[in-house]
Symmetry: C2
Subunit: 313 residues, 2 copies
Amino acid sequence: MFTNFDGFGSVPGIEVGRSFVNRRALANAKVHRPLQAGICGTALLGAESIVVSGGYEDDEDDGDVIVYTGQGGRDPDTGRQVRDQTLTLGNAALVTSQATGAPVRVVRAVRHGSKRSAQPSYRYDGLFHVEDSWSDVGRSGFRIWRYRLVQRDYAKKETSGQSLIEPIGRTKPTRTEATFQRVIRSTKVAEFVKQTHDFTCQVCGARLRTPTGAYAEAAHIRGLGQPHSGPDVAGNVLCLCPNHHTLFDFGTLTIADDLTITDHAAGTAIGRLREAPDHQIDRAHLAYHREHYSEGWKHSTDGASSDDIDAEN
Amino acid sequence: MFTNFDGFGSVPGIEVGRSFVNRRALANAKVHRPLQAGICGTALLGAESIVVSGGYEDDEDDGDVIVYTGQGGRDPDTGRQVRDQTLTLGNAALVTSQATGAPVRVVRAVRHGSKRSAQPSYRYDGLFHVEDSWSDVGRSGFRIWRYRLVQRDYAKKETSGQSLIEPIGRTKPTRTEATFQRVIRSTKVAEFVKQTHDFTCQVCGARLRTPTGAYAEAAHIRGLGQPHSGPDVAGNVLCLCPNHHTLFDFGTLTIADDLTITDHAAGTAIGRLREAPDHQIDRAHLAYHREHYSEGWKHSTDGASSDDIDAEN
């Protein structure tokens, strides 16, 4: 049967929960195509799928929220981190997935018996989205890339084995075909900060008007979700326009302790953060953001070497 | 027990599915406070709750997606639409809810027996978010305001009867406390349009850079969801920066057939939409957007009269 499967999203005929005896079976089913790499994808198009092996010391798996560690820098024999990971190959692909909102297939390794050395089987666990990406220094002492992937409820409703879909789009799209991106969360504290700044962007001074008022977004400097565990207090929130919120979340903008704003894409300072009398920004959170979100701008995505691909993750 | 209930979100102690014998009981429980109006809220803060009576000829209820009709303009005796609705009071409150992302409690009237005249009971059906708002000409021939409300999956997990929460925020916020806004959907066609424009905003020429590429959003001119039923084809999609996507969705920007862009907040034209050779925009969809999204800018939110509140909806 001809289908529109192009590598992203559900694989026709493969339901959530399907098990595979080994990586070869996973690859044959097109659920996760590489036999060794933990991430399948490119910086240009994003990541199709990942394998959560459970073997990585810095991974965290909460069922519908996964904190996943990037690939590279591990000793192939011992599996230990022996050098910094770079924002290349699969690691760059997962950042692209965050930008496009395209769904990522998640496969979990399931180990049988108590021995860590036992060969795992693999279970397809549905579609996730990359909500956040940052760099960190792992338990090894080397720099790693990390991603928060969240399972979308619509993914559970998604049906596989769809019939022919015209390649130029659909006149009657169904909800399950859409991808999602940029789920903006707000809280009562965030609403307070936006009102304090009268919905004016602290970076550029823009104030977006709607017919019934103004629109701004609250950017948590240190994220609320695991593993950042930032507090939901005004000192951890900025009032930003959607554009500068996006750039702040991707680390294109960082803010120094003196509130100077640096645009890393331009390589220059672009001014100073606007302040409000009742809104004191916690410098510790600005430092956390600089440390974890600007790393991608320090390294070129060129010059990746093939030994950056390792067995799993 | 002291709680942080301030009118928005779950009412402590009231679980989803709870029934109430009449509007008085609903009001006493603070689930929906007004005894007659279908919308509880203000243009400043947004809507706390709505009652879906099922009695409005233009309402549509698909369970987790509701297309709700605004209030006002109905004859109190016959319930028929006898004049245009305006973007005031509860109607303005629901637009504000779209901008803030705050959850709206949804109550459904449940009618017993076959008689339409039978007194209904009321059931609290959980938290929804306003994803879209527009105006339309109803079956009556008069202008009405309409809203698409979508039930969020997190709302189902939300617990009530929470204990004391410090008013300045929380150091360990839980996921269930966050509100959501601006869920941006994308599709394969949308990805094509973004790539065709090299992620450059068709309104302002901005191109937001991330460490692994550029970021833009695909704006469907005529929405994919019910009841717009816009097609997912390139001619119905614009490549916009997040700021201009927001302004387009709220009708602050409209685009004429000659691609002149009007900023209704400024009251002036602000230039012409940027084109790409392979991307022909369907003028019928631009006309649909102008007709349904710019109406809010034609009427002041001042001067609302009290007879704009009617019994239900």
